[in-house]
């Protein structure tokens, strides 16, 4: 077996992932998306950006369920092409340079994406820039439970970049947000691992948790 020698394809590219995780390819599916939108009081017509939108499942969800004007951004041309086939508005951009005007967004979503980006702090600054003051950031991500690495020693593309518990919150605050809600949803990650097993994949062995953060861009006057 030469399997151990070469890095494994990231989970989100694996064929079993869609069966295990549904269209969103992340723990909880739309559960935390809906929760964030409800907590933020997202109203019809609001301008929303989904970063790392992939094939646009969340953009479509936000449009249909909340009536907002949602746009997606992703750096993967193949994923974007799939989103465009569904007539969803998406733009090609990496998380650190979004081609969006400053202060133009009411809410930014970044679900299970931030720790995959090479420059997460820069990305947080960029989210802050595109948000209006008082606008919301919905963030969900893996966090590392201990220093242990993936049991297989392979790079599975998800937990390897995860931040330690607490670090993500510090980064969000340092970027200029105030944290409104922080919830632990590690159970959703375990359920996803179970679904991956049933669908024929092997989940990453890295001990990880899953956290949901709703943060707000501070009012300019107090900044």
């Amino acid at each position: 077996m030469t399997d151990a020698a070469r890095p494994r394809e990231p989970h989100w590219r694996q064929p079993y992932m869609k069966a295990a995780a549904g269209e969103t390819l992340r723990p909880g599916g739309f559960m935390l998306t809906d929760r964030a939108a409800e907590l933020a009081g997202l109203a019809p017509g609001a301008r929303v950006l989904d970063t790392g939108c992939g094939t646009g499942a969340t953009v479509r969800r936000l449009r249909s369920r909340f009536g907002v004007f949602a746009v997606g951004a992703d750096a993967d041309m193949g994923q974007l092409a799939a989103a465009r086939e569904k007539s969803l508005p998406v733009l090609c951009a990496d998380g650190e340079r979004l081609a969006v005007a400053s202060g133009s967004m009411d809410m930014v979503f970044c679900e299970c994406v931030l720790s995959l980006l090479p420059h997460s702090r820069k990305a947080l600054m960029e989210f802050l820039r595109v948000l209006r003051s008082g606008g919301y950031l919905a963030l969900s991500d893996l966090y590392a439970l201990s220093g242990a690495s993936c049991g297989s020693g392979q790079s599975c593309g998800c937990a390897q970049g995860a931040f330690g518990a607490g670090l993500l919150e510090d980064m969000v605050r340092e970027a200029g947000f105030e944290i409104v809600v922080r919830e632990d949803h590690s159970r959703l990650l375990k359920e996803l691992a179970a679904r991956i097993v049933l669908a024929g994949g092997s989940p990453c062995g890295t001990p990880s948790g899953y956290v949901f953060i709703l943060a707000r861009k501070k009012d300019d006057r107090h900044a």
Binding site: A19, R187, R195, L198
Partner: protein, 71 residues
């Protein structure tokens, strides 16, 4: 959430032990503690029973149970 197709749980060629009816792949809800999964399993519509092979029960299902129990 989506129905999970389990590669080992192919209904092809199986018939019900009790009544002989042909088993058809059917979404079945499995519950482990507080978690629920919809999985496609060979199912007898007459008896209302899903077939879970020993391979599946002692393999993946046990693995799933352990994953979810692990605190």
């Amino acid at each position: 959430m989506s129905v999970i197709r389990v590669p080992e749980a192919d209904a092809g060629g199986w018939s019900c032990d009790r009544c002989g009816e042909e088993l058809k792949p059917t979404p079945v809800n499995l519950e482990y503690m507080d978690s629920r999964f919809t999985v496609e399993l060979p199912f007898c519509a007459k008896c209302g029973i899903a077939l879970i092979s020993e391979e599946l029960a002692m393999g993946k299902m046990l693995e799933v149970e352990k994953l979810l129990e692990d605190k």
